[in-house]
Each structure stands twice: as structure tokens, then as C-alpha cells.
């Protein structure tokens, strides 16, 4: 049996309140254990950081839209290529890496779990086919519910229980892990080339407002007792002056209690939602306002969507946003309204250091991380690839750990940031403990995965990252380049007790689990809702109901998380 001792590492395990203690981590049969029998393989971790494996909470890494981004950007794929080796497949792509490459690149950084952020239900099979080809990490998919006709109708009619039963069915049918809402109601409006520009701007014909939809889905999510809260990409993403909408959105769940020990709402890529100004000339950061709101609301968790100043790709189910972006850049534009469900779009984007807007956007992402006091509430993402590719995580870590590095970058971007953001005045520097929270422990907790992931306590999955950094010897504030380098290439990435990466090189490939929620509701209620589903499929979908659900066989190591609803 595979047994492993990680000896004398300096361990950061925030879920278990371990902050830089020298200790051994014991592994047996893919789990962390208390005791071993003897002849275990020993890895000397002295002078090295040991953390739980990284967890990606929001990344567009698989599915139709991601593949659309790959397909229409050969120029992104000539930018970066990795030839096949004895153990790995080949791959290409800088901001839209191919599937195999995606798994390898996460693994090289010490990541062991990743969630793909937006799965249109009708396209679920596609998302899972790609996840099947992403090696190295455990994974899951967020099921889009924003422009869903069933949901809008049930909520409009006040049929919250039926709505819950439908969502329960939808999660099972698509093998989804999370209720994802992107531009609530706006994605239905986009069916007519329109958008919803405020929380009270209703979807045409369905006559339900984003406020009602979000509130309803929050309730549904808690009725179903799902592991994660609703995962919301709020209205007015990327728009001038949108911080007002964001602040209002944070209040929508007020009054609903979380069914588990976690947030009531996960608000994603808030960098894109913290904008002030009413023209691009007075565009400014409102990160401070947003941070204030989060600091006074323990029920909200956000992720940042930090801009990395790269030439990248924007892709989201927020179709109207993508249309708007391409009308600014005049670059190519892909759109894919999905019948009765949602409306993804894609367009390339260059965050140029010379541009005032991009520079302020860069500042905002970091401001959020630094102004929000509790790291458990501000998780690190780039909304890959929207604000930048995930391979830039080590750079963001270095920015967070070093004021000097931020100053150095600030001196190279547009000077407008000194006036229209507060980034220059912030002294705070993250500790390794903070980093461990915003890149793994916080994610595990927010996702309701902390029983098995995001920590190194006994019983946890043996998903471990070791970095060749000696905290007692390095000054991250000064040696930020070193920090960036070391987090880019893990000394070891251990997945389920197997060494997959050694010294930044992949030594073994494996396929991880696919996590999905097996949501259980009352049988009678489910039957009733099935009638509605059958009726609507016959009339309005372009596929037969029988051909809609994703078969479990397509999932690698299908792992269901069962949750019984209160209805």
C-alpha cells in the first residue's frame, strides 16, 4: 500500500489553525492518517512549506464556451505550447489552454482541485467531456440557472418548492456541483439582444426581476442544503458605476439563513463589479466601498478576479457583457445563446499597462484582497481567463505578499491609479497563512468541501503541495520574484497520496474525481415537477428529454455528494 511521510515540513493548515509549525504529515491510501506502520516512503520537507493542495473556486477551464475561446484564437495557441513527453500529452494555449495542459499547469502550481465556473445545462455533456480530459485534479462544474425558463416561471408564480425540486433535478441531470447565476435575468433578455441593467429591471415577457430571481435561488439553494451557496456573477458586470448594483446585490439574501456553516452568497470576480465613474474618463476604483460592505457582512464571500495585465480572453455566460466589450475593442466576438437557459459570449481582451482602465482594474483586484480584512471572505481568482490566465496565480501571491512588488508594478502602469484607486496607500502584506487561506482553505470552506479538502487533518484527502520556500529564511516583501518562482513550480504536488509533480515537473499523470451533488427531494414533489419538465421539453427544447441528462459514465471517478432537501 502506498504510504508516505512528509517529514519536517513547515506546515500552513488554516482550517486546523496550524500556522507555520514544523511537523510531519502522514499519508496512507490517499488519505491523511495519524499513524503509519513502518516502511513508508519519506519525503524530506525540512526548510520547505507544506500546504493543502490548492483549490480553484472559479475558472473557465472546460466546456463549450471555453472551447469556443480556443477554437477562434489560434493566435493564442501559437503563443504557448508544450510538447508531448514520456508521461504527458502535448498541449497549447496561453489564455485558453487545452484540457490536458490545463490539468498539468494547475498541478505544477500545487493545485489539486478545480471548479469550472459556468456550465449551460444543455451543454453539460460537453463540459464533462472536457473535464474527463483534464488530468491531475479533482473537479466539478457550476450549473447555470440565470435565464432558466422553469426557474423564472416557478419563482414568478411563487412556487418555491417546485423550483427547488426542479433545481435538484437539474443538478442531477447535468452532474453539477453548484447553482451558478450569471447576470440574473440579463441572459434571458439577451435572447432579444437586451439586458437587465438594475436589480429591478425585469426579464422581457417573463416579468421577473434579477432581485426576485437571486432571492428565490438563494432560498432554493438553502432548501436543498447544497454544499456551496449560490455562486453569483451579479448584474452590470464590467460596467461603469456598477458598484452600486453590487452593494445592493449583497443585501438581497438578507433574511435567508444558510443551511450549513458557510456564507449565504458567493459573489464572484468582484473586481469586475467595483467600478465607479460614469464615463471611461472618470472611471475609478470603488474597491474601498465594496470592502466596507464585505467587512460588515459575514455572510458574503467573494473572489477577486484579479487583473494580471495580460493579453487574454474574456468568456462568460454574460452574453450582453461580451457584446459590449467587443463594441469597445472591435475584436472578434463569439456568442452562443443556449435555449431556455443562458447566453455565453467570448471576446479577446488586452489589459494593457498603458491603458488607464486596465491599470485601475489591476489596482482594484489587489485592493479588494488587501482592504477586506478577513481573508476567509476574499478568495483569490483571476476568473480565468477573464482577468488573466490562472498561471499568473504565483504573481498575484507575490503582489499580495510584497508592497514593494506592487509599487514596482504600479510604477509601470498608467499613473492614473494614484488618483483613482487606493492601492498606493496600502501597507498590508499577506502572510503565508493568509495565502493558504485565500488559495485553498477558504475555497474548501466556501465550497462545503472542508470535510475532505483544503486541510491536512486526519481523514482529509492526501492532496498536498510542497513549496521550496523556507519561511524563516525568505523575506517575501523583498524576495517577491523568488516567491513567484517557487509558487509557480511546486517542489511536490501530491494527489490522493501519489506524487504527481516533483521539482515543478510532472512525473506521473492521474485522473481526479468529478464531484457532483446528488440532491434529494420529496418523491411526490419531484414527480409533479417531472410533468412540467416533460411538457416543456416536448414543446420548447430542441432535444428530447431522454437525451438531456449526462450519463455518469462520462465522469472520471464520479463522486456524488448527497444532500437531502428540506422539501
Amino acid at each position: 500500500m502506498s504510504e508516505l511521510v512528509l517529514k519536517n515540513g513547515i506546515v500552513y493548515d488554516p482550517i486546523n489553525n496550524v500556522n507555520g509549525e514544523k511537523m510531519d504529515i502522514l499519508v496512507k491510501d490517499g488519505k491523511i492518517v495519524e499513524k503509519l506502520n513502518g516502511n513508508a516512503k519519506t519525503i524530506d520537507c525540512s526548510g520547505k512549506i507544506v500546504m493543502p493542495g490548492g483549490i480553484e473556486i472559479h475558472s473557465h477551464m472546460a466546456g463549450g464556451k471555453v472551447n469556443g475561446g480556443r477554437l477562434f484564437q489560434p493566435e493564442d495557441h501559437v503563443r504557448f505550447a508544450m510538447p508531448k513527453t514520456k508521461v504527458t500529452r502535448s498541449g497549447t494555449g496561453f489564455s485558453t489552454p487545452t484540457t490536458f495542459l490545463t490539468g498539468y499547469l494547475y498541478s505544477k502550481m500545487g493545485y489539486t482541485t478545480g471548479m469550472t465556473a459556468a456550465m449551460p445545462p444543455l451543454m453539460a455533456r460537453h463540459t464533462h467531456e472536457e473535464l474527463k480530459d483534464i488530468p491531475m485534479i479533482d473537479k466539478g462544474a457550476y450549473c447555470l440557472t440565470d435565464g432558466n425558463w422553469f426557474i423564472m416561471k416557478y419563482l414568478k408564480n411563487g412556487e418555491i418548492e417546485k423550483c427547488a425540486a426542479y433545481v435538484s433535478w437539474l443538478l442531477k441531470a447535468t452532474k453539477g456541483y453548484v447553482v451558478k447565476i450569471t447576470n440574473p435575468c440579463g441572459t434571458e433578455a439577451w435572447g432579444w439582444g437586451k439586458n437587465c441593467r438594475s436589480l429591478d429591471d425585469p426579464a422581457p415577457y417573463f416579468d421577473i426581476t434579477p432581485r426576485e430571481l437571486v432571492k428565490g435561488l438563494v432560498e432554493v439553494n438553502e432548501i436543498l442544503k447544497l454544499p456551496h451557496s449560490v455562486h453569483l456573477h451579479a448584474n452590470n458586470c464590467g460596467r461603469l458605476g456598477n458598484f452600486v448594483t453590487t452593494l445592493e446585490t449583497f443585501k438581497v439574501p438578507n433574511g435567508t439563513k444558510p443551511a450549513a456553516k458557510r456564507q449565504i452568497m458567493h459573489a464572484t470576480h468582484i473586481q469586475f463589479h467595483s467600478y465607479g465613474g460614469d464615463t471611461w474618463h472618470n472611471f475609478e476604483s470603488k474597491a474601498d466601498e465594496i470592502a466596507k460592505a464585505v467587512n460588515s457582512n459575514k455572510n458574503i464571500v467573494i473572489d477577486t478576479g484579479t487583473v494580471t495585465l495580460d493579453h487574454t480572453t474574456t468568456m462568460t455566460a454574460d452574453g450582453p457583457l461580451e457584446y459590449y466589450l467587443q463594441s469597445l475593442t472591435h475584436l472578434k466576438w463569439m456568442n452562443r445563446n443556449v435555449e431556455m437557459e443562458t447566453s455565453p459570449g467570448i471576446t479577446p481582451f488586452i489589459y494593457s499597462r498603458k491603458m488607464p482602465t486596465a491599470s485601475i482594474q489591476w489596482a482594484i483586484g489587489l485592493e479588494l484582497s488587501l482592504l477586506i480584512k478577513d481573508p476567509w471572505q476574499v478568495l483569490m481568482t483571476t476568473d480565468h481567463p477573464n482577468a488573466g490566465p490562472f498561471i499568473r496565480y504565483p504573481r498575484i501571491i507575490a503582489w499580495l505578499m510584497s508592497r514593494k512588488y506592487r509599487e514596482e508594478t504600479a510604477s509601470k502602469v498608467h499613473k492614473v491609479i494614484y488618483d483613482r484607486s487606493t492601492i498606493d496607500g496600502i501597507d498590508r502584506e499577506y502572510s503565508f497563512y493568509d495565502i493558504a487561506i485565500v488559495t485553498r482553505a477558504g475555497e474548501a470552506k466556501a465550497l462545503g468541501l472542508s470535510d475532505r479538502k483544503g486541510h491536512l487533518g486526519v481523514g482529509a484527502d492526501a492532496d498536498i503541495a510542497v513549496y521550496d520556500i523556507n519561511p524563516s529564511e525568505i523575506d517575501p516583501s523583498r524576495d517577491y520574484k523568488e516567491i513567484e518562482k517557487k509558487f509557480s513550480s511546486a517542489a511536490y504536488t501530491i494527489k490522493d497520496g501519489e506524487i504527481l509533480v516533483k521539482n515543478g515537473e510532472i512525473v506521473q499523470t492521474r485522473y481526479g474525481r468529478t464531484l457532483w451533488v446528488n440532491s434529494k427531494v420529496d418523491g411526490e414533489l419531484e414527480k409533479e415537477v417531472m410533468k412540467d419538465i416533460e411538457y416543456n421539453f416536448k414543446r420548447y427544447y430542441s432535444v428530447n428529454l431522454a437525451n438531456y441528462p449526462v450519463r455518469e459514465e462520462v465522469l472520471t471517478r464520479s463522486t456524488e455528494v448527497t444532500r437531502s432537501a428540506s422539501v
Partner: protein, 264 residues
Amino acid sequence: MMTDVILVPKVQHKISLEAEVIKPDEFAGKTIEEIKELPVYFGNTVQKLGDFFEVSGSAEENAENLRIVVEGDVSRVKRIGEGMTTGEILVKGDVDMYLGARMKGGRIVVEGSVDSFAGQQMRGGEIEIKGNAKDYLGGSYRGDWRGMRGGRIIVEGNAGKEVAEFMRGGEIIIKGNCDSFAGVHMKKGLVIIEGSVAERVGAEMVGGSIIVLGEMANLLPSFKIGEVVEGLKIDGREFPGKFRKYIGDFAEGPSVKGVIYKRL
């Protein structure tokens, strides 16, 4: 003083050799033996430059003063001069695809003809082709909206389709005739066609200038007919005679600034 390295092809092959190492930047400072060892790609194999060429002469320290002379037909050798920044290449025969692609400086002279994608996304330097050029001369890579950005290409013979595709700067001169879609998606830069040009010249252009001295096939309906000008002066060059100005391509929108001058 220029010193020469001479390459003489020694084998015939159908499969194209990929030899982006053939450029002064790579050769400079190397011994002839070292140059022979440089990797070239042949089908799914990696081989040595010396397996395909007799190599002689000497490589100066300095790439600037280095000239590579290819004596013979390399119509199955791709990527010669790709990404070169300085020095010279003289090819005394035909050349395969991607000649001088992404070139930044220096000079390439081809006595024969070149295949497609010559000068792709070029940024500087000069390419002179005595024969003909195939398609996408000075064009872009698939999906990329940033084609040639600088430098100059001169073709003594004819050029194929989509010359100057997505051009963003620099200059292309075609002394012979030019096939369809010359200057497609052009935004900046200058294309001079001394012979005649086939249909759809300037298609979807939003800026830049195309000068046609010979015949021009029917212009697209989305161009507007402008005034007649007497003697042209563009980028410091003068063209005598009367020219009809056309503006377009209004398919792209109302504020386009692409110009075609056709000599009357």
C-alpha cells in the same frame, strides 16, 4: 565588411524541411562545424542542417555583418530567415513558406519565387523577391488581427491572394500583378501595385493606402468614389500622373479611412 556562409542543398526531398535556424542571428559566432549541427525539422524527425546542406565560408562574430548565401533550390525549405533581426540572406533559387516571417530587421533577397506566408507578421527589415510570391504575402497568422507592422517587401514578379492581409504598417511593392483580396482587413501601411490587381482589392480595409498603377478589376460596392488627384505624394514617395481616389471599405462602418488610388 560582410562575410558569407554558403549553403548548398545536397539532397532532394518532398517533405519540407523546417529551418528557422537559417538566419544570421543563429549562425553568428559559430564555427562551420557548429552551424552544421544546428537542428532542422524533417517530418517527425529532428536532423542536422549539415545533413541537408554543404556548409562553407565563415561566420563573423557579428550577425550584422553576416550574409548567408543559399546556392540553389530550396523550394522545400520553410521558415528561412524567420524572426531574423539583422544581417543578410541571399537565396539563389525558389523558397518555401514563411520566408522572413516575423522578421524584425536585416535583409533577404530571393532570386527565385517564394511560397505563401512570406513576411508574415513582419516588423522590420527588407525582403526582396525577384520572382513571384504566392498567397498571404506580408499577411498575418490565422486568427491574428495584427499582420505586418513594419519593414518593406518588394516583389519583382506577381503576387497571389490576400497580399498585406491585416497589414498594420510598413510597405509592400508588387511590380507585377496582384491576385484578389489585396489589402484585406488592412488598417495602416502602404501597398503599391505596379501591375494590375484582381477583384476585391481593399476588402474590409479600415485604413492604409493602396496604390494601383495598372488595371483594377471591379471595385467593391462598399467603396466611395473620391476626387481625381494630380501627382501623388505618400510616405515621401512621389507618383506622377492622375489618380482616382476611392475610400472604403464602408462595409466596416461609416468612419473608415482606407484609400485606394488608381492611376488613370
